[in-house]
Symmetry: C2
Subunit: 214 residues, 2 copies
């Protein structure tokens, strides 16, 4: 199985993906600017299956075969561009959404290149960017006993990378990969996260997207 590094992996989004990927048998490195903090958080995760999660620096995470960007949106470009050499030739999965809270809602922000995936793709010209994991409820992702049956919309301009990431996601319990298409869909997929979170704030729940009839 793949070794997966998660940049900025100590937040709720990164922890949830780490726990689920470990459940699918992956060896996960939770990267952080603070390796000790990442190690503590990795130890605190409740895991299932044969995979493992260990903490490390973002450099440690970037050394893995496959790398997920789970930093806050406003540090994603700085973090990834500093790791450009380590990420060269690799598939890099962006799960980053540019969002801002306004009262009881999240509002979607539109980065100048159209999406955070496009901003990251520009910062990493020798890497292959795939978008995934945008609409998932973080708390349920981390709780492997929760009943989760969510669709993960996957996009990339690289067909092969998109298929590899979709195959990995389909091995994760509670998730189904749906290949959405190219980077042209990055902006609406990322922005829709604002809708999912706003619905959850308003309705005090943890809902997520299913594509019915597929």
């Amino acid at each position: 199985m793949a070794t997966v590094g998660i940049l900025g992996g100590t937040g709720p989004a990164g922890r949830g993906v780490a726990a689920r990927l470990a459940g699918a048998g992956c060896t996960v490195v939770l990267g952080s600017r603070d390796a000790d903090r990442a190690t503590g958080i990795a130890r605190g995760l409740t895991l299932r299956g044969e995979g493992t999660v260990e903490g490390g620096t973002n450099e440690d995470a970037a050394a893995c075969n496959l790398v997920v960007v789970a930093t806050p949106w406003d540090s994603a470009v700085a973090t990834t561009s500093a790791l450009r050499q380590a990420l060269k030739g690799k598939i890099v999965i962006s799960m980053v959404n540019a969002l801002s809270r306004e009262g009881r809602e999240m509002v979607a922000l539109y980065p100048s290149r159209g999406s955070m995936a496009a901003q990251i793709a520009h910062a990493l010209p020798e890497s292959v960017i795939v978008g995934a994991f945008h609409h998932l409820p973080a708390a349920q992702m981390e709780d492997l006993d929760s009943e989760l049956d969510a669709d993960v919309l996957v996009f990339s301009d690289d067909d092969d990378a998109r298929r590899q990431v979709a195959e990995l996601i389909d091995r994760v319990s509670g998730l189904r990969a749906v290949i959405a298409g190219t980077m042209s869909l990055a902006s609406p997929i990322e922005a829709f996260t604002a809708v999912c979170i706003s619905i959850n704030i308003r309705h005090k729940t943890h809902s997520y997207v299913k594509m019915a009839g597929l």
Copy 2:
């Protein structure tokens, strides 16, 4: 029950909403620039329940209590602004998405005011704009025998109008209203239609959005 006018109602999206609203008991006027064509299309619909659909001009449709904008996106502002007086004081539901086809995908376009709902709101300053019906599969909407169990995300800056539209939608078979929030969510909700259609083109299916866990 409400009388509902549908501006530009002869396209697949308008016909589907007309058939479903008639099924819920509404008196529907399918408006078109060509009233004879609208009458022919209205007669061709297979209906259930006590509601009715008749064809007429867009002016006829605009005379109803509640009005849905189902024109192509690039004529929505021209059509609605010409009907500004008739629509004064009414709830106007925008189901308009600005989309363009690129190969096997739809791409989302971003109107300068952020969304088509905002463009229409600006054209109709004395009306109350609500967004709804964006992600629905048109063919299944029109076929009342199809198994449809779709969520309709509803947004507006007017709480009361949003609630009224949600209550109407909840009376329609196959649909559940989910109040998403304010006009701040118009852009990501409209743009996500590009993702839904692109998935359906790619996977040769008619999928639609469900918010699971709600």
